[in-house]
Symmetry: C2
Subunit: 578 residues, 2 copies
């Protein structure tokens, strides 16, 4: 490919809407163009990258006995009504009617389609286990697309679905897929991706993992233990606390606290720390707007995923009306029992005494709250977000750190949620009718490309790993107006292509500065420089994009030399995988 | 791949909704499953076929300097408003609103997206020509999906868009693409596909061609000349007639024709042939419901594409109301001049005399109509469908035949329709601002797969050409319960795979009958049979799916033998291409 004919513009200025490096470089380097909020077209360089990623995904899925299939982008609503998700999923799912008025949806995930495809096939135990996967376009109407390809509305995804006759078999296969994922990231140049235990969210099921690239620009919070290998995302991390009770319990005392509402103000007024207070956080259930009051230690935050999992339904922050029976700013656990509310207690409060809290009376708080004495009926559950320095649920040491990460893949043990709701059964060895157990395994292709760019770039542009780079060699004919340079570079271009190498060739009559800054933006791993000075010395320069490698080769043997360097680099990558 | 683990069912019975062979075999062979009307999921065999077709498309598009890009499936309505097609395209385009209420559409073609992607890039003449293409999902809400993959609502398409600075350059490139298309069909095993001149329909532009597989199950009518190489689709074929006027004109005479409405009844009543009558066909414009009366020779049919092209807008068959001024069943050209209608005359009537026609009076017709004498003001245009035995517009001989065909691709010279409406311009050598000229080039992947199946099957199943077959070799271990058979077949399977061949291996303990009928449905070009009898003789059988080839090989050298046969077949296909 001649760079001169490559469709797409490259330029220097960071566009004002580009807040992360991968987005910036992909716009500045002519990789993509915005079509609408969170919807992009790809130019050739990005298309070549994503195709290479897709090929890695395909090979690794085939290696774990996956069968490539294809589900439709557009599906009938009836399929999603079978599983119940037509109702339970909100505005993220695009819905429309066809010309005859039948409701259709755009696929944002394909569990339903997978079950529909194999429901007739998988009727006897001997067909199991099996796994099907596809690489296909999905649409998810995200409320806040951001950061270029990191969070979009339309994306290409590899999604895989496995079917099993026992939990043990699922777990064995799940482990195999976990390893396949590690290979995928390593092959794509991101061996640093880690897996973390995660919450399953709308997918159903129990055990699940997210694969995370740790980076400050990530939108997920990852909980890591510095002492052991515990890793979880914030939603899934258990918050363990060692509650310290004072020896002497003071008396429960009502205090006048005029115009004081927030927990911080109350504690400042009472000269105590927020961790010696009992905070009320109020929600309403989405289903019927009924109130849920959650008491938690004043210095902690609520993990809403834990709350909705406990309640079995979504909630939203409450709107506290005059007639709802709650005194906004003054809610406390004493005297709240008889109201028509769901009242919950976080483990952080269990056994504590000498706490401040609301008195359920306007302008009044209590001090001297003793949970054991004053709220004897309370049951305690884990609703709190784990904190930096917190106790590791695995090794028990106070060594928790919290990092940011980009989720670049996930795997779920789904159980029988979909097979049960959609009536997929098989006969086992004894003729008994059973529901198959499912796993599912997803990787977003564009986001992975962006994550690779986030992990591998310098201030001038991306540094694509060889396995996913749009081209392998970037051939620069510096001073292409020099006849010797042009003639030799043309010949080298021909020779490299004949050796099966992927070459982008820049023979434009532009300055070396323009040439190299364009090459930096395209991020091709090896750059070959032909220039009048090099020609005079009978040599070409070969440098790697990351500057780790730089050598000269004789003009006569340059093509072989370059092919050898690439073969060695490919072999090295293969060795690391083993 | 072991057949035993291949997801999908194969069975004998033709499903009642399968009316064409490709659909029947794809359902019976476990290639696809219906998800909704005109929407399918693909199992692994079909996915492998379509991926191979896609790779052929990619290679041939790359060979004509195409750059692979990707446009979104979901696009903002605003993009289609720019070109005017948001209004002009009807219910085929799926439309919905996103969560913020912004109107979106599903791409059914991507001219708008192509212009949007390159509008900023192509601002100077030096960037031209260039071609971008994608292979991507499209959705078209067809009123009548039919025949499996022949006419669907969701499909994968290769669509390419070229941009030029002169009509000559477009034409040169168009010719190059035409040749690339011929190579594509030849490589995919359909060298018999022909190109026909076509009407451009909603795409705009003037010159266009459709690539047709001639088959009785096709839904398009193709006009072919037996004497020269003229080929056109029905919509585009000019109807040439040599009108014969009688020597003596009879007088225009009103005749009482009670209860007679159709042209056939009138002619029977008057004892004349339909071709000596002047038939009125009445339409209403879609835009304002105004009436259009078209007079045409009684034995001919109206080509509505020609009519709408002439009128510059769509029409529908008229609803003739009492107060519209038309006498249904008795409409004629005499005395209709002063009514508020568009009155049109087909060339088939020019100069004719002694015709029967309606008298614009209930229960009355005329005989003795002389177009020259009685309808002196008439202007004549070509609105008729060409007929079997008609005159070839190219060589002038009465050698027209009409065949049915499946359209498996199309190419269009679009002109500046999209660049003008969407404001894409470039500066030419003289600094003048101009609109680039576009071409576009489409091939539906699934329909091509179905067309290959229509052209290549026997009564037992598809006979896939080697280049697109789901696998290259179908290895049958007949009597896999025989230890020798199983051991040898296992070894051969291993060897064939090590040679890089794509093998589907059937080692199920089923009868040879079941094994072979499954193999027939999968249509793999070469079948290798290991059986107790063969083993005793120290040999394996190698037969081609089309039965043209059958030989035995020694068990010791079978793997090499098979690899050689495949290499020879591949080479033969390559030679034919040259």
């Amino acid at each position: 490919m001649k760079l001169e004919k490559l469709v797409g513009d490259r330029f220097k200025e960071r566009p004002s809407d580009c807040l992360v490096e991968s987005h910036t470089f992909m716009v500045r380097g002519g990789y993509l163009k915005s079509v609408a909020n969170g919807i992009f077209s790809s130019y050739m360089p990005l298309k070549r990258i994503t195709r290479k990623i897709e090929q890695i995904l395909r090979e690794e899925m085939d290696a774990v006995d996956g069968q490539e299939v294809q589900f439709p982008v557009v599906m009938p609503a009836s399929l999603w009504q079978e599983s119940g998700r037509y109702e339970s999923i909100g505005k993220e799912m695009a819905r429309f009617n066809d010309r005859s008025g039948s409701p259709l949806v755009l696929g944002m995930t394909h569990e339903e389609a997978a079950v529909q495809l194999v429901r007739d096939y998988g009727q006897t135990y001997s067909k199991y286990p099996f796994m099907i996967y596809q690489i296909q376009t999905k649409f998810r109407d995200e409320a806040r697309p951001r950061a270029g390809l990191i969070r979009v509305r339309e994306f290409t995804m590899k999604d895989a679905y496995s079917f099993h006759t026992s939990q043990e078999d699922l777990e064995k296969y799940y482990e195999k897929c976990h390893k396949a994922y590690e290979r995928i990231y390593a092959r794509a140049g991101l061996p640093e991706v880690v897996s973390v235990a995660s919450d399953s969210g709308m997918m159903g099921g129990s055990v699940s993992h997210e694969f995370m690239l740790l980076t400050p620009i990530g939108e997920d919070s990852i909980v890591l233990c510095e002492e052991c290998d515990y890793r979880a995302n914030m939603e899934a991390a258990e918050c363990i606390l060692q509650n310290q009770r004072d020896e002497i319990s003071e008396a429960l005392t009502m205090v006048h606290t005029p115009d004081i509402h927030t927990i911080e103000d109350v504690c400042a007024f009472l000269h105590c720390e927020t961790k010696t207070s009992c905070k009320a956080v109020v929600y309403q259930r989405n289903s019927d707007d009924s109130y849920v009051v959650l008491f938690i230690r004043g210095d902690l935050e609520v993990n809403e995923t834990k709350l909705t999992n406990y309640l079995g339904g979504d909630v939203h922050p409450a709107v506290i009306t005059e007639d709802c029976g709650l005194q906004a700013g003054y809610i406390g656990p004493v005297g709240l029992e008889n109201k028509n509310l769901t009242v919950l207690f976080d483990c952080s409060l269990e056994g504590l005494n000498n706490l401040s809290c609301g008195a359920n009376k306007e302008e009044y708080h209590y001090t001297g709250l003793d949970m054991t004495r004053d709220v004897a009926h309370a049951e305690y559950h884990d609703f709190a977000k784990i904190q930096q320095g917190g106790i590791c649920p695995h090794c028990g040491k106070p060594a928790i750190t919290i990092s940011r990460g980009i989720e670049v893949g996930n795997i779920f043990q789904l159980g029988t949620k979909y097979t049960k709701t959609m009536g997929m059964t098989y006969d086992d060895q004894n003729g008994e009718t059973k529901y198959p157990i499912m796993g599912c395994y997803g990787i977003g292709v564009g986001r992975l490309a962006a994550a690779i760019c986030e992990a591998h770039h310098d201030e001038h542009g991306p540094i694509w790993p060889l396995a996913v780079a749009p081209w392998q060699v970037h051939l620069c004919a510096v001073r292409a107006d020099d006849a010797d340079v042009k003639a030799y570079a043309d010949k080298l271009y021909e020779e490299l292509q004949n050796k099966g190498l992927e070459v982008i060739y820049d023979d434009r009559k532009v300055s070396a500065g323009v040439m190299f800054s364009d090459a930096d933006l395209l991020g091709v791993p090896y750059r070959v420089i032909v220039s009048p000075r090099n020609c005079k010395q009978g040599q070409v320069e070969i440098v790697s994009r990351d500057k780790a490698f730089s050598e000269t080769a004789s003009m006569d043997t340059a093509a072989e030399e370059i092919a050898k360097i690439l073969a060695a680099a490919t072999e090295e990558a293969r060795q690391i995988l083993k």
